[in-house]
């Protein structure tokens, strides 16, 4: 009950869905759509666990007066106001629910994203040192690509050609090789799960 049946479910589900991909028949299509809904539905119910986890950790930080515990009131306030507004006042554009989304979440999201402009610079400064041959290759390529945007008179034309060669030849080769490696590793991992060899996600009794 505790092990065999779940592992059997994984196996049957995995084999069935993998085979389904090659069968274009209508019933195969319908089963695929139905099964994808399973994933969505399990995810919806799991969200309850997620919210509970967030709530409990925030509350316990307040109770134990962990560092910066006072701020957890803000988390709880944000969480509950969104849920209550969403359930009882609707989520149409112009409602308070969407206002909070547009004027709190969106600017924070955009600003976090924009921080990357600073971090790209600091990471480049710190990491791009010609310590080894490999590091030098990394550094020089990055610089050549960045120089595209800098006017250097007649050098620019040459640099443009070098940059586009880098992008279409070695860069392309690297991307493809990495993709193939990831593909093999990923399929092997999926097979291990389907065959029940890899089961750490199910825990131990």
């Amino acid at each position: 009950m505790r092990w065999q049946i779940p592992l059997l479910i994984v196996f049957i589900g995995g084999v069935f869905m993998a085979v389904q991909y090659f069968v274009p028949l209508e019933f195969s299509e319908r089963i695929y759509e139905y099964c994808v809904d399973w994933i969505i539905i399990v995810g919806v119910f799991a969200m309850g666990l997620g919210l509970w986890s967030l709530f409990r950790v925030s509350v316990s930080k307040i109770q134990t007066k962990a560092p910066a515990w006072k701020y957890n009131f803000l988390t709880l306030a944000g969480l509950f106001s969104m849920i209550l507004l969403g359930l009882f006042s609707g989520i149409e554009e112009g409602k308070a629910f969407m206002k909070l989304f547009w004027y709190i979440y969106t600017p924070i999201q955009a600003s976090m994203f924009a921080l990357l402009a600073f971090y790209v610079a600091s990471a480049a400064y710190r990491a791009f040192r010609a310590r080894t041959l490999v590091a030098t290759i990394l550094l020089l390529t990055a610089v050549v690509i960045m120089l595209r945007l800098i006017p250097l008179g007649s050098v620019s034309g040459l640099n443009q050609n070098v940059a586009s060669w880098i992008l279409t030849v070695p860069n392309m080769a690297a991307k493809r090789a990495i993709a193939m490696g990831i593909g093999l590793g990923g399929i092997a991992t999926a097979l291990k799960v389907v065959l029940g060899i890899e089961r750490s996600y199910m825990g131990k009794d």
Binding site: Y21, A68, M112, I182, L184, I197, Y201
Partner: protein, 415 residues
């Protein structure tokens, strides 16, 4: 943004639905309504020559609700009077009457996929196993001509998608390798695995955290629990948890997906079990923050700066947040080890973390860390997979150079 797996599966049906609306619109509205003037009275145009040899047959590799129609271009399409603008595809279940417009294609096109919906309630329902007849109309500016009625054809579904045979064959072959080498490993064959820098670093980093008495932060990324990178990361998390349980180092695992929350809790719990310290496992060491990418990152960044984590491990599916996390970890002075299957993010991890597992190394690490023979067998299978890829690649490039296209086409996927 994130949760690619679920989103893809949510968006795809919606997209298909919208697309079928679009097709439906294409089929039922008359050409005029669609804004394509059918016969604007501009000049007394000559009647174009009709399309010839209209042939309809079941569309291959589908669910049985489509027929493919082919014809020979009108003599005035691109030649002759050069006045053909478009072709209209008309269909009926009776060769003599009742033809309706099904589609419209620009001049120069000599086939049309007449696809309909599979549900009876749908207005654009296309019945299987029912005979249909087709007529093709060649339109010029102000006039048209019609082909003769085609022979009947009916649509039916196929049991196997022939365009995907290359996928089927390679998947079966690779599965065979994996099973074969895992059985080999079961029998106790010794397998060599080369050292991978990032993996050895994990042990050191756990030791360092223990010495410093500071926690270890483990980030599983933004992938859903159904993504392969997340699964690989869960195995690594399990091993890391075992080590931290042995050393009694605190482990922090904030996650960004509720399903990942549950499986990560299980993986950590199992690690503590294996280390013989199930009592030391605290459920709140794995907790959910939020599923929204940048909100999650802002919280994790705050956590790093406040808890001054000694070691940060990033394994799994990462998007733009990779550099945000890694740079903040740097500011906090943490040792950082990363690995992702997202090709676009590897450069940032390489630049900003101390050790990076590149692509496949992430999967190798998940097998290698436990040194379990069963899992190692898969690494051997992966290497054989690479050998096959390399042989195919060399053959393919040579074949392409000598125009032996049939060899190259063996690897082509026709969807």
């Amino acid at each position: 943004m994130k949760n690619k797996f679920v989103i893809r599966n949510k968006v795809l049906p919606i997209f298909l639905l919208l697309f079928s609306f679009f097709l439906f619109g294409l089929h039922t509205s008359s050409a005029q309504e669609m804004g394509i003037p059918v016969a604007a009275p501009i000049s007394s145009a000559e009647v174009p020559a009709p399309p010839m040899n209209v042939a309809a047959k079941d569309a291959p590799n589908d669910n049985g609700h489509a027929i493919i129609v082919k014809w020979k271009l009108s003599a005035d399409d691109g030649a002759g009077n050069k006045n053909v603008l478009s072709y209209e595809i008309w269909r009926s279940d009776n060769p003599d009457t009742g033809f309706v417009l099904r589609g419209l294609v620009p001049a120069g096109t000599s086939q049309y996929l007449d696809r309909g919906a599979r549900d009876k309630e749908d207005k654009n329902y296309f019945p299987s196993h029912k005979n249909f007849y087709y007529i093709i109309r060649a339109r010029s500016d102000g006039s048209y001509s019609e082909s003769t009625v085609s022979a009947p054809a009916y649509a039916y579904g196929q049991w196997i998608h022939t365009g995907k045979l290359s996928i089927l064959f390679t998947t079966a072959l690779f599965t065979f390798f994996v099973v074969l080498f895992i059985n080999w490993a079961k029998k106790g064959k010794k397998l060599y695995v080369r050292p991978i820098a990032g993996i050895d670093a994990i042990d050191e980093a756990i030791g360092r955290a223990t010495e410093m008495g500071r926690p270890i932060l483990y980030i599983l990324g933004l992938g859903s629990a159904g993504e392969l990178g997340t699964i690989a990361s869960l195995t690594i998390l399990n091993r890391v948890a075992k080590k931290t349980a042995e050393y009694q180092t605190p482990l922090l695992v904030p996650v960004a997906d509720p399903v990942v929350l549950t499986v990560a809790q299980e993986a950590v719990k199992a690690g503590y079990y294996e280390a013989g310290r199930p009592d030391a496992y605290k459920e709140d060491s794995v907790w959910y923050i939020t599923s929204m990418q940048f909100a999650y990152v802002s919280a994790v960044n705050g956590l790093m700066l406040r808890e001054r984590t000694a070691t940060n491990i990033y394994m799994g599916v990462f998007y733009a947040e990779s550099l945000l996390l890694a740079e903040t970890g740097n500011v906090a002075g943490s040792i950082q080890i990363s690995g992702t299957d997202q090709v676009a993010q590897i450069p940032f991890f390489v630049a900003a973390t101390d050790y990076t597992l590149i692509g496949e190394e992430l999967y190798a690490a998940s097998a290698y860390l436990g040194k379990e023979p069963l899992l190692l067998g898969a690494i051997k299978a992966q290497d054989w997979g690479k050998i096959l890829i390399m042989i195919s690649l060399i053959l393919g490039v040579l074949a392409a150079s000598f125009h032996l296209d049939f060899i190259v086409n063996l690897f082509r996927i026709k969807l």
